[in-house]
Symmetry: C2
Subunit: 396 residues, 2 copies
């Protein structure tokens, strides 16, 4: 069963083919699992082996290409006819000399369509340099073009159905954040917080089951809050420590990320000052959002706000989000940063995560939002400030 | 804090340099997060951006190269001196024209060591075809060699400390499997089973916290057991349905995977026959394992056993395991399959997972084992058969 009705996949395919036309490619090879899912519905944890979806510009239905033992998964999750599920033998899996792309090349040759202008996702996670080498060797007459993010850009404007999915994900994110914050007590290990969050993420909310987010909960505590991508430990929490929780709710691969910073006991003045600046920065930024502005312009609002407080941040403050798979829930298209001239349009979705990390601590407070006709709508409704535990009170 | 004492990393580096010598490379670029962790201790969910560890054959300490905001994470988790933590600016993250590998190339040039024979992991997950293109453009005089899996092969023989870590992971796997099976009741959703498992995986066992496994729990139920890599749904379980649970315990990135098949109520005759064949197959295979045999030879034992029951399986039945990151806990070295002539040696570790998937259902029963001086030792102690719920009884 696909997550969306067939018509939605048809509409997506039309848009992708328009972009193929623009890029001048007759065949598009998609390896990014989110793009495979977006086009065909395919959903399985099989991206640790070579697989792809092949879109011919002159054929109505794409082809799924993967490992033999995953064909049943493609039958169960895609809208493609069985004749469009192609597979390679298990001897190609993680083999020393053979590569699944040899088989893909052979099939493309045998098909006799002589598709010669082929788009490939050169910077996708699961399409390795070796895969590209084998494909080039198998198809010496083809002309390859880099179509990294071609489908990702089509994904940027969400349909109403996709926004419904992201709102379900947001309800899960709220529930998971509640469970995580409730677990914060003196002596609790951050792994126990992560366990509570992960359980809530998967159980879901309002009777609707959750999916696994593309990133595990990130829960640095104490001094480790100086680094944004640490996961958790089994050290007990101490009084006065800040704890960052970054997580997402996920519903059928659609994400709503959310980050908050919690302090166990009374926050010290430096932490409070940093949290205040981040909160004011995010609120001013959200207030400024309107369709027609660029990503760079809204980053400027943030930058001006925090500079008044004496802070500076040299990394991006957000990025486009939607359907995704590990290792990233970001869409790899627009980033909210200087130099990004992407124009905001209704039904784009972003994670605004203007964390600031100093030498000895950091604060993250984030919001996921949808651009609307007149401004933006945050996906999650959650206290937007430093949170004090126990008591679950806001600190500012 | 690194997971192991410095001496262990020193020993690993010596072995890797021996392999570099054999491969004829003066500089090794490692992008596989498991290899980065193995050499430096680095541990963070940052592999969604370009990063690598660079090992010069004539320098005692490798270099970590990554995103600026992840340098603090490298400070917190590696044994490297701060002068060996190199970073690129945030404007290179998921950018349209720039690539972090441009910066890596510039630094290598500026270092003036003229390292000209460079090993790269061409088939690693997080080293894209585009990364390779940019590196080649940045270093036109270098000669690149494919050193995919060079470090992975060094990882194959585990130290005693690593085996201790895998046993901790195994205790977590037992606990998680118990929690998962206990949750199986009529009307339970498989997402609730996954939530119980995930929570147990992260809480850990015996007071020791767990880490996130490289693969989420895979819990197909009913007809969906015909496909090995589906995750879960929010459909309620029905009487008589088989449920496959494949999971791992993970301790500081070391894995002990475990799969079992459970039936809700009385198993039908076909399921029982299939489970009986799989169980006998795995037991005969485990009994046959001795150092000196090849992977191909032990696969033959499985093959002969199940063929007596009228079954056939055309995919590999296992693979080497150890330290790893998403998307795979397999080491990408030895596979237990025809044509793999890897000779088993003491302290190698494998996941033996001889699942059989038919057109309408499947059975998975697996064991992780360490090769010993005389045979093998399974990591997990768990009833090895079809399991019946409620009641938690074995069905054969």
């Amino acid at each position: 069963m696909t997550a969306f009705p067939k018509q939605e996949y048809d509409e997506r395919l039309i848009k992708v083919k328009e972009e193929m036309e623009r890029a001048g490619v007759e065949l598009l090879l998609i390896s990014d699992p989110a793009n495979m899912n977006y086009i065909t519905g395919y959903d399985g944890w099989s991206f640790y082996v070579s697989q792809m979806v092949m879109i011919f510009i002159d054929e109505p239905e794409p082809y799924w290409f993967g490992r033999g033992q995953d064909v049943n998964g493609a039958k169960a999750t895609t809208w493609l006819p069985e004749s469009h599920l192609l597979s390679y033998g298990d001897e190609f899996v993680h083999a020393k000399t053979k590569h699944p792309m040899d088989e893909a090349g052979r099939w493309l040759k045998s098909k006799g369509k002589h598709a010669k202008r082929i788009g490939v996702e050169l910077d996708a996670y699961y399409f390795s340099a070796k895969a590209m080498n084998h494909l080039e060797q198998a198809l010496p007459d083809a002309a390859f073009a880099d179509t990294t993010n071609l489908v990702n850009y089509v994904r940027m404007i969400k349909s109403d159905r996709e926004i419904t999915f992201m709102k379900r994900a947001a309800a899960i994110a709220e529930e998971a954040m509640n469970e995580g914050i409730r677990a914060i007590q003196e002596g609790t290990r951050t792994c126990d917080i992560a366990a509570a969050i992960s359980s809530a993420q998967i159980r879901g909310a309002n009777g609707i089951g959750g999916d696994y987010p593309a990133i595990v909960p990130l829960i640095p505590a104490g001094e480790l809050t100086f680094a944004p991508h640490l996961t958790w430990t089994d050290e007990p929490l101490k009084k006065g420590e800040p704890i960052i929780i970054e997580l997402a709710g996920c519903y059928r691969r659609y994400h709503a990320p959310l980050a908050r910073t919690v302090v166990l006991g009374k926050p010290d003045a430096e932490l409070q000052r940093l949290a205040y600046a981040v909160t004011e920065g995010i609120e001013n930024t959200l207030d400024s959002i309107r369709p027609g502005l660029t990503c760079e312009e809204i980053e400027g609002v943030w930058r001006n706000t925090i500079s008044k407080h004496g802070f500076n941040k040299d990394s991006r403050i957000g990025y486009s989000i939607g359907v995704n798979y590990p290792p990233d829930w970001g869409e790899h298209t627009a980033s909210i940063r200087p130099g990004d001239h992407t124009i905001l349009q209704p039904n784009m979705a972003f994670h605004l995560i203007p964390g600031i990390w100093l030498d000895n601590m950091g604060v993250e407070i984030s919001e996921s939002f949808i651009v609307t006709d007149k401004g933006c709508e945050t996906l999650v409704d959650y206290p937007r400030s430093l949170i004090v535990q126990p008591g679950f009170s806001t600190a500012i």
